[in-house]
Symmetry: C2
Subunit: 360 residues, 2 copies
């Protein structure tokens, strides 16, 4: 009998070490956390005893509790991990967050909540973090309320969200408009759009207007609206624009769903893709069909991921890394002011060779 109420295995703790050396718990704690608070020789003796007893150093959880700091920020996203990382854009964003996190000795806790997975609540509730970054979490997601309820600093990158949540992103609509205006100026009038998915993931092929409006992703809606703005201006009816869903944000999916765009009568002369990964897929499909981008057909992406440059893809550049850094900073040091920050970072149209004058 060791008299403890729960049957845990006994482990060395601060107290164990303190007893061994014959000092107070506090002193042992200081030996680890504030070397200046005690005599150097004593510190050595403490370490030596710790080694002998197999004491692994202050327990991270206990330390977190006492200090009131978890030392990590939670990254919540509704995609599968592989998804989230398959897209270089996401990676860029993550990297940004990681950079600022690292500067302050903070870790990143990944909290994926793909649609099908059970009980996202628990994950959020048990996450030992100092704040959350929401990333691709649609407005009505059940976990969202829970996250807010935890009362920790919170930043989202999804546009037109609850205005009480700090936001960092870009002008989705305006940026998309830039892309479409470019196309329009080149004389294109028969235009198609490639998206990842409008309603649930997995839905592929042409999407109706209703479906477009019903999309739970504000960013997507913003971009579509931007395209529409530009097309409206030159009198192209949005109803005539075929919006095709790849089903998921992947190059191969986009390539295969490109059939709905490329293999139809009255083939569009330009394709607007809401992400570079999709645009690259469209380019693959063009290549298979012997269509030369920039001559036979124009393709515009969005994001400007590294691979876009290799493919000479015309696209909208958004500062993904900066977005991540910004978001990270906002979580780590929430501004004290009353008004909720809503930051829009600048974007830029990068014209390469996949766009050209509309063929007659």
């Amino acid at each position: 009998m060791d008299g403890r109420v729960d049957g845990r295995a006994k482990r060395a703790t601060l107290q164990t070490v303190a007893d061994e050396v014959g000092v107070s718990r506090t002193t042992v704690s200081n030996a680890y956390g504030r070397p200046d608070q005690l005599n150097k020789a004593l510190r050595e003796r403490i370490f030596e005893a710790a080694r002998r007893l197999g004491y692994p150093g202050p327990d991270a959880t206990a330390r977190s509790l006492r200090r009131g700091r978890a030392g990590a920020i939670g990254l919540v996203f509704t995609e599968t991990l592989s998804y989230a990382f398959a897209d270089p854009y996401s990676v860029g964003f993550l990297r940004g967050v990681a950079e600022v996190a690292e500067e302050s000795g903070t870790g990143l806790l990944l909290i994926p909540m793909p649609p099908g997975s059970g009980d996202p609540e628990t994950a959020v509730r048990n996450a030992v973090v100092d704040g959350f970054c929401l990333y691709c979490v649609p407005g009505g997601h059940p976990a969202k309320e829970l996250i807010r309820a935890r009362g920790l600093p919170l930043v989202t990158t999804d546009e037109t969200d609850d205005p009480s949540i700090p936001y960092v992103g870009i002008d989705e609509r305006g940026s998309a408009r830039m892309a479409a205006e470019h196309i329009v100026r080149l004389g294109h009038r028969r235009v198609a759009v490639m998206v990842d998915h409008v309603s649930g993931p997995g839905t592929t092929g042409p999407a109706t207007l209703d479906e477009q409006r019903a999309s739970d992703c504000a960013d997507l809606r913003g971009r579509l609206a931007g395209y529409r703005d530009a097309l409206d201006e030159v009198g192209v009816a949005w109803e005539s624009v075929r919006v095709v869903a790849a089903g998921r944000n992947s190059r191969t999916a986009a390539a295969s769903q490109s059939a709905h765009i490329l293999d139809v009568a009255e083939r569009p002369t330009a394709v607007l893709a809401i992400g570079d990964v999709l645009a690259l897929g469209v380019l693959d499909a063009c290549e298979q069909r012997g269509l030369v981008p920039g001559r036979d057909i124009s393709v515009v992406g969005f994001d400007d991921v590294p691979e876009a440059e290799r493919a000479r893809l015309t696209t909208v550049r958004q500062p993904m890394g900066e977005k991540g850094r910004m978001a990270g900073r906002l979580v780590l040091e929430p501004p004290r002011e009353e008004k909720v920050p809503r930051i829009k970072l600048p974007t830029e149209l990068v014209v390469r060779t996949t766009t050209g004058p509309a063929p007659r």
Copy 2:
């Protein structure tokens, strides 16, 4: 004065709610964690009070401490985040870990420790996790000892490491040998090898034998040894094999460093790349030079990432996802047996079109 010794802002806690409702702390705790332990009506009253007081539910850190479970596993790697995610192989591995983690309601704490970054110790020490997965952490890394010292379950994916650490991986040497044997059977005798980096990251260009041997990455050494095995067998001296470092594991870096292979007198007829990403870069370089893979030159990769199929790349397939799942499981449920698990997963040569008979 609120009489508290440290000046923290007061927040609602279990006790606050308990007092408000007039029950014990335990009961409130049960309301959240064990609904069957109390009356349904009382439970509602508790929640109602919690809402009124703005109590966000049990504190994750405190819960972790008391329960003795952090609810996360730490993922330690020595690359930059962007690095780690840029490679589809890594992503596959991560995904595997994430899958099993998710099944048990566990999060993933990313702990990147790129060479230049300061104080990896703190990150490891403060990580609130139940175990660690080491990923690309070379043998002598300073953090390694620290991680072990924490006494938590630990799994590594780096070969020929300390035999006391559970390991899951593949037969690097044998697998590489398969790749090289394939090339050899096709009649190739002038062979080059493309690696990411031998000594520190950033070192590019041809690597000397000494540098190869000095590499801190056991996996790399294993693969090189495998290539060598096959070449030795047909009398190709390893000294005659040019080993070129791309500097980092990226497609563009590999493409540009391919000059050291493709633009030399007596150009090799086959290139063995220790990873698909590098192989793809080599293919890019070939394309630029008008060399047709499989005819003018043969290229073999390693990993079989999704993109390899698109590129019709001959490569060695390794079960990245399975590796991750395995590693995750080993951390989550460390086997009780005495002997340290050392698991080698099977690999397979996938022959596609980037390899062909040696040109005469």
